[in-house]
Subunit: 146 residues, 2 copies
C-alpha cells in the first residue's frame, strides 16, 4: 500500500485541556468517560493533544527549527525535536495523575496550553516506556527546564 493512497485519517477531539495554574484538568467528553475506567490505577499517563495554535499550512510544512526558537540550538529536523510545529501537530507529554473523577482527570506536568484538544490518553508503563540510558545529542543535554 502506498502511503499517499491511504484514506484521510481524521482525528476526533476526545476532550479539552483546562489550565489551572501549574496543574491542568483533562475534561473528557462525557461519551468517553467509561474509557477512563482503570486509569486511576496508574501514577502517570501519556497525554496526546493537538497543537491547535499552530494549525495552519505554513507551520505544518515546517521541516526544520531551532529548538525552543533559540538560535543557540542547531537548526534541526522537526522529527528530531519536540517542537509544536510539524506535519501532524501531535503533542506528547507524560503527566502525573492527581485525580480521576467522572469524566475528568487532574494532572501535573502538562505543557499543553488551555483549550488544546485532547486526542488520546495512554497509561505510562515503565517496562517499555522508561529508557533512562537513552542517548541524546549535546544540544539536548544543555537545555534548561522550561
Amino acid at each position: 500500500m502506498h502511503p499517499e493512497k491511504i484514506n484521510p485519517m481524521l482525528l476526533k477531539s476526545i476532550g479539552v485541556v483546562k489550565r489551572q495554574g501549574k496543574q491542568a484538568i483533562l475534561e473528557i467528553l462525557p461519551q468517553y468517560a467509561q474509557a477512563l475506567d482503570g486509569l486511576a490505577g496508574f501514577s502517570h499517563v501519556w497525554v496526546l493533544y493537538w497543537f491547535h495554535e499552530h494549525d495552519n499550512p505554513e507551520e505544518r510544512a515546517t521541516l526544520k527549527v531551532h529548538p525552543r526558537r533559540d538560535p543557540a540550538n542547531p537548526l534541526t529536523g522537526v522529527f528530531a525535536t519536540r517542537a509544536p510545529v510539524r506535519p501532524n501537530l501531535i503533542g506528547l507529554t507524560p503527566c502525573r495523575i492527581l485525580k480521576v473523577s467522572g469524566n475528568t482527570v487532574e494532572v501535573a506536568d502538562l505543557d499543553a496550553h488551555d483549550g488544546s484538544p485532547i486526542l488520546d490518553l495512554k497509561p505510562y508503563i515503565p517496562k517499555g516506556d522508561s529508557l533512562p540510558d537513552a542517548a541524546t545529542p549535546d544540544w539536548v543535554k544543555k537545555l534548561r527546564p522550561e
Copy 2:
C-alpha cells in the same frame, strides 16, 4: 472553545512501516526527508503510527477491552490500556534507532504491522520521558513480553 466546535484535525501520512523480521524500516516520504536531520544523534525515537487495520466505526467506538484480548485481564477503559482499538487509532512505541539514511530510519522494537502509516517521529529524551518509578496496577505487572 468547546471541543465539538474545533475544526476537524486531519492527519497526513508522513511515511509507512516496512517490516523486516524483528526490525522495521520507516520509509519516510521524500518531501519530509529534511525533517530527519539530527535524529541520528539520538539512540531512541518515539514512533507514532496509525492502527490502520482497526480503522472502522465499531473499533473507534470501543470504550472497554480486556487488555491483549485476554479475559484474565480485567475489563478496562481503553484510555487505561495500550490497545489498538480506541477513538483515535494512534500507536506509540519507543524504538531503538539502528540507522538513519536518506529518507529511511531503521529501527528495532517496533510493534507496528507492515503497512502502518507513520504519523510522527519524536526523539526520546530521558529527562522527561523516562519515569522508572511510575506505578501500574497488578494486571500490568503480570503481563509477559509480547
